[in-house]
Amino acid sequence: SVARRAVAEVAQHDKVARPVGFVPPPPPCPGKIRHFKI
């Protein structure tokens, strides 16, 4: 439930602050998959 609340807060804050055309930055982790995911 802690995780769920944190996500909701970020989403709400993001919704208020986001200007038109804003692209949210990619999550810092995990990183990109170089080959394929098992």
Binding site: P28, C29, H35, K37, I38
Partner: protein, 246 residues
């Protein structure tokens, strides 16, 4: 006012990738079995500042098995990651590094490896051979027969088995056993009569090698063996007379 703490490192940041490269090099350098592993993804990174120019870095890495045996002199950058349908093996590693004055070094690492599920592979490729156990009867028989066939035809040193790296068995449309195994040269010639008395030569990369063999059991019997000896010796290919060449 105190300076704001630096933004946390992202997994794809150049600093994270540099740390991961050092970690993967350390992991491969300290492994003596199986194959070299390549970085697939940085799962997580945490940095704990310790003081001026000193950090402790915790990395969680997702690695994939390559086709390069661990004893192979081929640099990791030139190694091919095994495909998904080759029944890929993944390595999950936790690595602790330190960065002192910009210099990275590994303090500790812990890895676990596991193969992809057979069900996932069969969904994509119903006839693909699947990884078999090292102590499977057919696998052991194929390795023994292959090495014996190679030694019986070779004019070089008598080779002894170091370890079986991989084995796969396919049942349809043909019954085929694929094996890969590491070998080492002994002080005997391949024609030696009493091979029990043969001893491995001192550790030197040129005394190691790697063999792949394919044994078709059904519909017809066939055996193909390829061995490559590292170091100064060129690659050697062997197939029993009257059977497939490569």
């Amino acid at each position: 006012a105190p300076a704001a703490p630096p933004a946390p490192l992202g997994c794809d940041d150049p600093e994270s990738e540099a740390a991961a490269e050092v970690a993967v090099s350390y992991i491969n350098g300290h492994s003596h079995h199986g194959y070299k592993f390549a970085l697939n993804r940085i799962d997580n990174i945490r940095v704990l500042p310790q003081g001026p120019n000193h950090e402790i870095i915790f990395l969680e890495l997702d690695l994939l098995e390559t086709t390069c045996p661990i004893l192979s002199p081929t640099p990791l950058a030139n190694c091919t990651v095994r495909s998904f349908t080759d029944h890929a093996v993944e390595g999950d590693c936790d690595v602790k590094l330190q960065k002192v004055n910009g210099q990275l070094s590994v303090l500790a690492s812990k890895c676990h490896s596991h193969a992809d599920s057979a069900e996932d592979i069969l969904q994509l490729c119903p006839d693909c051979p699947l990884l078999a156990s090292w102590n499977d009867t057919e696998v052991l028989a194929t390795v023994t027969e292959s090495l014996s066939a190679y030694n019986g035809k070779s004019t070089g040193a008598y080779l002894k088995l170091l370890e079986i790296g991989r084995a796969k068995i396919q049942y349809h449309p043909a019954h085929v056993v694929f094996v890969e195994f590491a070998v080492a040269a002994t002080n005997c010639s391949a024609e030696a009569a009493n091979v029990e008395a043969c001893h491995l030569l001192p550790d030197d990369q040129s005394n190691f090698g790697f063999c792949t063999a394919t044994k078709v059991i059904r519909p017809s019997q066939d055996l193909e063996v390829n061995c490559q000896l590292y170091g100064h010796q060129p690659g050697v290919t062997y197939s029993p007379p009257g059977q497939a060449t490569s």
